[in-house]
């Protein structure tokens, strides 16, 4: 009898310790396309989280950016995907939510730290459900070579007129390429061109929402004006810019051969490593002095929970932690140029990154106009915007014709614009 009790007790303790062990070792696997960030996760983010949350282990398993969507989709379908999913903004993640792979996180307490614009990238069209915690955004603007500006006695331009006067002055001097951008890869013309300077003309979120609602069209002045600006850019880009690729432009600028670089903030860490001159940044110049400025503060990375996870509680603890200022500070300083989206205050060390994030205080934030809803049909508005921006810069299509073409393409499938 005694022996049986002892055995029972032993069995019970074994079982108990076994369950305790599994509870302690809740391992969360994080899927991501940011394989560049592997070291930062392993050295900074994961130790910080695990120190505070004993019992939850994190494993960051990124795949190649170009393959991420396909790999993730097949893993989710096969049931072998990780517990935590990095979310691309807008339709790619929305499709995962609709297919029942991403959990609805609207009730997560940490969500209160984010603004509506920040959450827009990972919410359903009507905004009723949010399924990823916004993690990082990229801000557009212009990076300039401070040494060149000092040498030529130039001031940082704040208005459109000053901007072109500055470009003219650099062109006249002849020693530097005024602006480093090419049209070979096409996307820079749209992303660093049209969507960089555009929000000032279509008034950021106001115009973007009106376009989605069908109250404005792409042929309205606010949407054609950025093309008129782009049409003037052609003469300030380097010789043979038609065949200049994105890495070419980066190299031209960091070698000090160009004065201004139409940029996204993700360039900061790369440029800091490459360039041996001092860099500054200015936000897209406004039409008239004193106008409200708008910036493209584009939501880029989110993080959500796989519905099929075995540790939903642990996953929620982690996601809430991502929403805190502690995570924001670690992330923003490890990756200058990827700015946290939470309302918590963040101390940035990098001066160039500080410059970029300071615009959030004086300008209105918006996201790229083509990303939400409007690029769902055929023809694809984002791809067409690349093409149109390039055509306008090269001067083979007039701003009005380009806008008309985009509008016709959009109206062909998007009901509110018909």
């Amino acid at each position: 009898m005694k022996i049986t009790t002892l055995k029972g007790a032993l069995l019970a303790t074994t079982l108990f310790s076994a369950t305790a062990a599994t509870a302690q070792d809740a391992t969360l696997i994080i899927e991501s396309w940011r394989n560049d960030d592997l070291v930062i996760w392993q050295d900074k983010i994961i130790p910080a989280f695990e120190a505070e949350n004993p019992g939850i282990k994190l494993k960051f398993t990124p795949s190649a950016p170009a393959e991420y969507n396909a790999v993730l989709n097949s893993k989710l379908d096969a049931g072998s995907a990780g517990d935590i999913i990095s979310c691309r903004p807008f339709d790619a993640s929305l499709a995962l939510y609709d297919a029942g792979h991403l959990a609805d996180l609207s009730d997560l307490s940490g969500m209160a730290n984010f603004s509506g614009v920040a959450k827009a990238g990972w919410s359903t069209d009507d905004g009723s459900a949010t399924y990823c915690v916004p993690m990082a955004s990229v801000i557009h603007g212009f990076i300039y070579n401070k040494d060149v500006f000092a040498e030529l006695g130039l001031e940082v331009p704040t208005t459109e007129a000053e901007f072109f006067a500055t470009l003219d002055a650099i062109k006249e001097d002849g020693g530097y390429i005024p602006m480093a951008m090419g049209t070979s890869d096409q996307w820079e013309a749209a992303t660093m061109g049209y969507n960089n300077i555009g929000p000032n003309y279509w008034k950021g979120e106001e115009g973007r929402a009106a376009l989605i609602a069908g109250e404005q069209s792409l042929t309205d002045e606010g949407w054609v004006a950025p093309f008129r600006q782009l049409a003037k850019w052609g003469s300030y880009l380097g010789d043979g810019y038609e065949a200049q690729t994105y890495p070419d432009s980066q190299n031209i600028f960091t070698l000090g051969r160009a004065a201004i670089y139409p940029a996204g903030s993700w360039e900061i860490s790369g440029f800091n490593a490459q360039a041996d001159f001092e860099m500054g940044a200015f936000n897209p110049p406004v039409a008239n002095s004193g106008d409200t400025c708008y910036i493209s503060d584009h939501t880029d990375i989110g993080i959500g929970m796989n519905v099929a996870t075995e540790n939903p509680e642990a996953a929620k603890i982690f996601l809430n932690w991502v929403a805190t200022s502690e995570f924001s500070n670690i992330f923003a300083n490890a990756l200058p140029g990827f700015f946290p989206l939470s309302n918590a205050t963040v101390e940035l060390q990098d001066p160039l990154a500080q410059e970029f994030i300071s615009w959030r205080g004086k300008c209105e934030s918006s996201i790229r106009s083509t990303y939400q809803i409007l690029s769902r049909g055929t023809p694809n508005l984002e791809n067409d915007t690349w093409n149109a921006s390039v055509a306008v810069i090269k001067g083979v299509e007039s701003p009005e014709d380009a806008a008309m073409r985009l509008q016709n393409g959009l109206a062909s499938w998007y009901a509110p614009q018909q």
């Binding site: 996307w187 043979g240 083509t370």
Partner: protein, 307 residues
């Protein structure tokens, strides 16, 4: 001992054929038919539904799709034309020169010309992009040094030149293949025939055009059809050099890149496997028709000479 024995079933034939048949079925035949099947479906609300020929109606009837399709097909035809009028004549000429017994270092030339063929598309695309680059490239500098700088254009970035430039890059890469095939064909021509011709006073260029060329015509036919199939399936070089949007302004878009964009999606454009399969099926159709025209129209008229 005249018992009539039933002929034994020869198992070894099946055994030896099996690996090739199985592998070929798994990696070629099954995917091919599955692609054809996929093109008859579409996705509605997360479900795959049978739509018959609707995808093809969209592809050929809807201007958004058909404009892109015809543009890609026309570009593909031009890509093929350049190969036929540049690559193959040069290949034949090189083979004729190499097979001349008086040429020194012919083995060296043969290897040097053939080496680009074994290089990866990515390397070739990247190397030529650098050579032709207006910023770091050696092309502007070389033209400048002989006083022809005015001829330089950023070729890959101009709509009117980009496709021709890439076709020529592809010709540079693949000229070794027709050269090798023709070279082999030329070597197999018996000397007696040429000597007999010499007795009749046919030498030099005349010997080439009157004796050798007719004898290598079947090889030229095979090369043409190989070029046709390879060109209409091409994708890698354009993708490596110009990306999936095949810029500038789709001037280098060929069926392969068009199919890739549609099937796998691009940037914000989500992939549509069903329309992608429809395009792949159309490509298959184009190639099938081309090969049939060749087989029934041309191949049968070529005479093979037995030596």
């Amino acid at each position: 001992m005249a018992t009539p024995s039933k002929p034994q079933f020869r198992w070894h034939i099946a055994v030896f054929l099996a690996p090739a048949v199985l592998v070929y079925t798994a990696v070629m035949i099954y995917p091919l038919f599955n692609t054809l099947r996929l093109s008859l479906f579409s996705e509605v609300d997360q479900d795959r539904v049978w739509v018959g020929l609707q995808n093809f109606r969209t592809l050929f009837g809807d201007a958004v799709w058909s404009d892109q399709f015809w543009n890609a097909l026309a570009n593909n035809a031009w890509f093929f034309m350049i190969h036929m009028i540049v690559q193959n004549p040069i290949g034949v000429a090189l083979a004729a020169i190499l097979s001349s017994p008086h040429l020194r270092f012919s083995a060296f030339y043969r290897s040097a010309i053939f080496i680009p063929t074994i290089l990866s598309f990515v390397i070739v695309g990247f190397a030529w992009k650098l050579i032709l680059s207006p910023i770091w490239g050696i092309a502007p500098g070389m033209l400048d040094s002989i006083g022809l700088k005015f001829l330089y254009q950023p070729w890959l970035g101009k709509e009117e030149y980009a496709l021709t430039t890439l076709s020529l890059v592809s010709v540079w890469q693949y000229v070794g293949i027709p050269m090798m095939l023709i070279y082999a064909a030329l070597l197999s021509i018996p000397d007696e025939i040429l000597e007999a011709g010499e007795c009749d006073g046919i030498t030099g260029m005349a010997a080439f055009f009157k004796i050798k060329l007719p004898l290598i015509l079947p090889s030229i036919g095979i090369i043409s059809i190989l070029t046709f199939v390879a060109n209409f399936n091409a994708f890698d070089l354009i993708y490596a050099a110009q990306g999936a949007l095949a810029g500038p302004n789709f001037s280098t878009d060929i069926l392969g890149t068009f199919m890739y964009r549609t099937f796998f999606g691009f940037q914000l454009q989500l992939g549509d496997p069903h329309m992608g399969s429809a395009i792949a099926s159309a490509m298959f159709g184009v190639i099938l028709v081309g090969v049939c025209i060749y087989l029934f129209g041309i191949q049968r008229r070529l005479r093979n000479y037995q030596f």
